[in-house]
Amino acid sequence: MASLTIVRPGMLTTIQDLGRWGHQASGVPVAGPMDSYSHRLANRLVANDDSAATLEITLLGPELEATGDVLCAVAGAQFDLTTDSGTVSCGRAFELKHGARLRFGRRTAGARASLAVRGGFDVVPVFGSRATSVISRMGPFGGRPLAPGDILPVGHQPARTDSVSGPYALPLPQGGARLRAIPGPHDAMFTPDAINVFFSGTYTVTPASNRMGYRLEGPSVARAGGGDILSDATPLGSVQVPLSGQPILLMADRQTTGGYPKIATVISADTPLAGQLAPGDWVQFSPCTRAEALDALHRLERRLAGHAS
């Protein structure tokens, strides 16, 4: 059976699929890729299902060695990629020959890349998913980030039947991103002025950010009064506001419930872009309706399917 072995793990490399759905009522976090668009794109480049497990690579990339010939593709953050036989490109499938190494070099844009292999990473699912949840130690390799010597088995690789017609890559943030967000569900707990501050301010992703969430720094968002809420569910893209007034954007490894009021929720079409932000990047939020959110999501799907707009 073919596999990839971790020679150097990079900063934070984990196995991810589309997430561990259906068990949040037991406190099991969804996890999954920070940039689900690039996860799916990488899979499509090697003719996998969108749900196949990929590697998520963060800021500093790994070095991997192939056992058996493995068809690979990298999408998302732009890295200089080299193999023993030369340079390869992000956004295009390439074969890593038996014994050859793939090295992630300089990162030129974005924060996280997805590496897909034809056949997917064949690790044992936990509660129906191969996603790694570091905070709850759940998933492959005991839910921990990958370490030197880890052997990642590659699933059965059927002969390729079709060449994948070019889906478009996600446009990457250039120093920051404007994210569209639907106000609520707890917007009534904030003064109109505070909501205005939130949607007009520029925030910075602080170093105290991770796969669970981004702690943002910027104009303080004041509550209309009252304390926290009684704990309830915390969807991807929720923007929590603790008493400090400094918002927290909840990301892939978020906990399933929380007690801070949520002023707005980033739309599904923009959470992949949020997943490409790094500490130091700026963020702005613009208000958006549900109809606009759905329209944006349809456009993103068309982009992934290879249509220009």
Binding site: W21, G22, H23, Q24, A25, S26, G27, V28, P29, V30, V126, I135, S136, R137, M138, A181, I182, G184, P185, I229, L230, S231, D232, A233, P235, L236, G237, S238, Q255, T256, T257, G258, K262, T265, V266, I267, S268, R290, A293, L294, L297, H298, E301
Partner: protein
């Protein structure tokens, strides 16, 4: 105006484009929580095939869906319509779960702070904590963490001003009117008053989770020796 006795859905609202929240009156109330659980059960029974997840809060039910596959406006209308028909459905007789707790020394770093909050002795804190039965309102945060209520007002100390970066597994803690057990080492801001040898989540067990909403919980004091025996 909402009557204090009203325990029904107050509104259904969007939490982004992929989740909808049914909000019940915002208070810790067994009747409200039972209605939320009944509503969650009805939603699961009817729409399991199209919902990604159904999550109960203290007084909310959140449904997750794929906005490309499910019309959010239609689902919202369905939820409103179903909300009108939630009965006073009783839980099948609540399970009572006994949780042994050692309240000694280094297992209870915040016991003195809680006693100071309650203007009482640490022995009185223990007696009050173990002296009543709690209801599991929801399971959330991380796998197996049960939010239980309601803690006696006298010892309902608020969250610590600065959370610990690592709370040990099995730590029994209080925050405002709530009590809970940390299933694994995690950051946490609740006041730690004891430790249980019980593991709320253990993937090696045939049934990995001990607690579910609606369960009743009784804490029983054990000695350090007994704790060591049961670990």
């Amino acid at each position: 105006m909402t009557s204090l006795l009203d325990t029904g859905v107050q509104r259904v609202t969007a939490a982004g484009d992929a989740a909808l929240v049914a909000e019940f009156p915002a208070r810790i109330d067994p009747a409200i929580n039972e209605r939320a659980a009944a509503f969650a059960g009805a939603l699961r029974a009817k729409w399991e095939a199209i919902l990604r997840d159904v999550v109960i809060g203290y007084c909310t039910v959140t449904v997750y869906f794929d906005p490309l596959g499910v019309d959010g406006r239609w689902l919202e209308a369905e939820m409103r319509s179903m909300a009108g028909h939630i009965g006073e459905q009783e839980f099948e007789s609540a399970t009572v779960i006994d949780v042994p707790v050692c309240y000694d020394g280094d297992f209870a770093p915040d016991l003195a702070d809680v006693a100071a909050f309650g203007k009482c002795t640490t022995e009185e804190v223990i007696a009050l904590h173990a002296g009543r039965r709690y209801r599991v309102y929801l399971v959330g945060f991380i796998p197996g963490f049960a939010y239980m209520a309601e803690v006696d007002q006298q010892i309902a100390a608020p969250r610590r001003s600065s959370p610990r970066t690592a709370v040990p597994a099995g730590a029994v803690a209080i925050a405002a009117g709530q009590t809970g057990i940390y299933p694994a080492v995690t950051p946490g801001g609740w006041n730690i008053i004891g430790r249980t040898p019980l593991r709320p989540y253990d993937p090696a067990r045939p049934e990995p989770f001990i607690f579910k909403p609606g369960d009743h919980v009784q804490f029983t004091r054990i000695s350090r020796d007994e704790f060591n025996r049961r670990c």
